[in-house]
């Protein structure tokens, strides 16, 4: 060691590194990682910030869904002489819808595995499978809504039906819009390849699609299965 004083900046880095309260992770004994957003290590990478920001958006989207769930729970017995939930549930159709959406979540996860392996072909194949399963889901739901409307069970009929069409319809709109996003992503992967910003968008799309499946778990359990109990 020389006796010359260290430059101020080096001295600062040394002091911060020596301080157990600063620039250390909560777990593990290793030093801070550069670009991890901890302490003095600089801002997080764009990939982390994009994913985290989209995660915050998704949680706010789920909060919006919870309002529709609360409305359905409150209105579930307000049938106004119209049909009860048990009278309009078609369990086989709900089972098929659930299977389609769950499988689409699976293929969506596989598409991101292919993205990580930088395989354009398999990314596209699994994205296409995801889109077709999503289309099947939306188709079955539309068929159900049209069938209900043909029997006179429209949203105007009772408070329960208003809440039902609001909640299930909102989810259907989400899946439909996600399908448009999926087509956009397929085109972008094809034309632009696996550039960092395209991969960021694929991460966000994956999150969105899985979140829609999580909301559907709540819908098929609370609206269809619990509503269908006699």
């Amino acid at each position: 060691m020389s006796d010359t004083p260290l430059p101020a900046s080096v001295e600062t880095i040394r002091r911060v590194r020596a301080d157990p309260r600063l620039g250390r992770r909560g777990h593990g004994s290793e030093g801070p990682a550069k670009g991890a957003g901890h302490g003095d290590t600089g801002p997080a990478s764009k990939r982390i910030i994009v994913g985290y920001g989209f995660w915050i958006f998704l949680l706010s989207d789920i909060v919006m869904f919870s309002c529709f769930f609360a409305a359905f729970a409150v209105q579930s017995h307000a049938t106004a002489g119209g049909p009860t939930m048990a009278q309009i549930v078609e369990t086989p159709r709900v089972a098929l819808e659930t299977a389609a959406l769950l499988l689409s979540s699976y293929t969506c996860g596989l598409s991101f595995a292919a993205t990580n392996a930088r395989s354009k072909l398999w990314t596209q194949v699994f994205l296409l499978a995801t889109g077709l399963l999503g289309l099947a889901f939306v188709g079955m739901e539309l068929q159900e809504f049209i069938g209900l409307a043909a029997r006179g069970f429209t949203p105007q009929r009772s408070g329960m039906l208003t809440a039902f069409f609001g909640l299930v319809g909102l989810h259907g709109v989400h899946v439909s819009l996600a399908g448009l996003w999926l087509l956009t992503m397929m085109a972008q992967v094809q034309l632009k390849g696996f550039r960092p910003e395209i991969i960021h968008r694929l991460i966000c799309f994956n999150l969105f699609w899985h979140a829609l499946d999580i909301v559907w778990i709540g819908i098929f359990t609370i609206v269809y299965l619990m509503g269908g109990l006699t």
Binding site: K34, V63, G109, L110
Partner: protein, 139 residues
């Protein structure tokens, strides 16, 4: 003196082990790990979904307990999706994601339980209405 322990890029070569992860993203995992995760998630989800549909359609369990059982199965399946599809875990690289999720769950819980609670006690909490006013409302 050596600058090795003051170099800001000291740990840059092994940063990937300790970097934060965004939800749905584990940059350094191989494709095999992703496929294994997806398979596990699908298998557990099928198990939980089939159980829920069977419980709702049959009388295998005591009827008044069916709604509670269905809710428990749904919450379990949401957990499976979070871990195996969204890759939100309890690891130190996921602290921010889990904290945001915890806040989201708090808001959802307050909204749903609060709405049901308030609306179920609505008539109980109303101001008593004088009989003549009640009559004028019914006309």
């Amino acid at each position: 003196m050596s600058h090795s322990d003051t170099d800001p890029n000291l740990h840059s070569e092994d940063r990937d082990h300790r970097e934060d992860h965004a939800p749905g993203d584990e940059p350094e995992e191989s494709a095999g790990h992703w496929i294994l995760n997806a398979n596990l998630g699908l298998g557990l989800s099928i198990l939980l979904t089939v159980t829920a549909f069977v419980l709702a359609a049959t009388h295998l369990v005591y009827a008044p307990s069916i709604p509670v059982a269905l809710l428990v199965l749904a919450i379990a399946q949401m957990g499976v999706h979070l871990v195996f599809f969204l890759h939100v875990t309890t690891g130190p690289d996921n602290t921010n994601n889990v904290l945001a999720l915890a806040f989201g769950i708090l808001v959802v819980f307050l909204l749903v339980v609060g709405s049901i609670w308030i609306m179920a006690h609505l008539s109980h909490n109303m101001m008593p209405m004088p009989p003549d006013q009640m009559q004028s409302m019914q006309q």
